[in-house]
Symmetry: C2
DNA sequence: CAGTATCCTGTCCGATACTG
DNA sequence: CAGTATCGGACAGGATACTG
């Protein structure tokens, strides 16, 4: 993923994708956040070729999502543990999980989020921290921020106008 | 993305990635949910080659995230509008946006979520709908669900045990 | 305007073999 | 156990030309 417009984009989504755009990366992160640490563990869990695993692991370390840490002197052995940045990625993973569960689990849910204390199944919603309202629904919208350049600012102005208009047919 | 283990996986994250694993898809979806509809609009916004755009658009339609809709008879013209499934993807996109803003915006936020009514900037958190507690933090964990097969169930049992153990050093 | 048709390149990925 | 080294194949993505 070395797209010209991605390198210097202002879009935070594109910036995020620079780090986790490859799907193996996300699956590895999923496992790492679940507690897996060692090369071997990842390989078994993912059924991935070792060279590919090594490559993805390295790229995740370079992106700062994982830390490569020596846990044994001789022979030297390393494990991969999520950094703060990596742990901060959890909500994205859980949102992805929830979307999958809502839409692609016709035979029932096979992986879910639970409260380890009570065993209650959680139903994740993305809300605004202050008001508690769901952020994915109106009246919330995406807008240019303080650091936006002129081009971006104009773009969102334009979008706002056209959204004020018909907002034509959403499907189904 | 036609990985053997992905086709029949039980993991909802992997299932999601089957639909949106390619990064162009996510960027297109971002624009579609922002209100873009036409081929031309996507192309300008994304600076993408037309053949690639056509390919990704088709795959998003096939995955059921976008609907191709004729808006003019002659010459026949089509536009691409998000389906219910596509709109349901919004929280994932916003979680990705928030992660990017928190971590990769040293010079300030250039795109943000705002309340269109009040203009207040939103701070998205993923919480449990019932309890309102952040789902990304303890005591919440990922666990096998009712439809999990034996293999998956065992796997999460094992993880639960090792998590009960030291839960060794998280970085930073 | 909304694409299709070609051609080409990069690299992601899979398979396999090998090593300290 | 934790990788590295090689090789090959598929396809995403880029550039460009063309069409109704």
């Amino acid at each position: 993923m070395q797209h010209k417009s991605l390198g210097n984009t202002q879009c935070p989504i594109a910036r995020s994708l620079e780090r986790v755009g490859e799907w193996w990366s996300i699956l590895i992160l999923r496992d790492a956040l679940a507690g897996l640490r060692r090369f071997d563990a990842f390989q078994q869990s993912l059924d991935i070729a070792p060279n590919i695993l090594a490559r993805r692991l390295t790229s995740l370390v370079e992106s700062g999502l994982l830390e490569r840490r020596q846990y044994q002197e001789r022979p030297p052995r390393y494990e991969y543990v999520p950094t703060a940045l990596g742990r901060d990625f959890r909500p994205v993973l859980l949102a992805l999980l929830a979307w999958g569960n809502r839409n692609f689990a016709p035979e029932g849910v096979s992986v879910q989020i639970v409260d380890a204390g009570t065993g209650a199944v959680a139903d994740p919603v993305l809300v605004d921290r202050a008001s508690g309202r769901p952020v994915a629904l109106a009246p919330f919208r995406i807008a240019a921020g303080p650091a936006a350049n002129e081009r971006l600012r104009r773009r969102y102005e334009r979008l706002e106008k056209s959204a004020a208009a018909p907002a034509a047919g959403e499907t189904r």
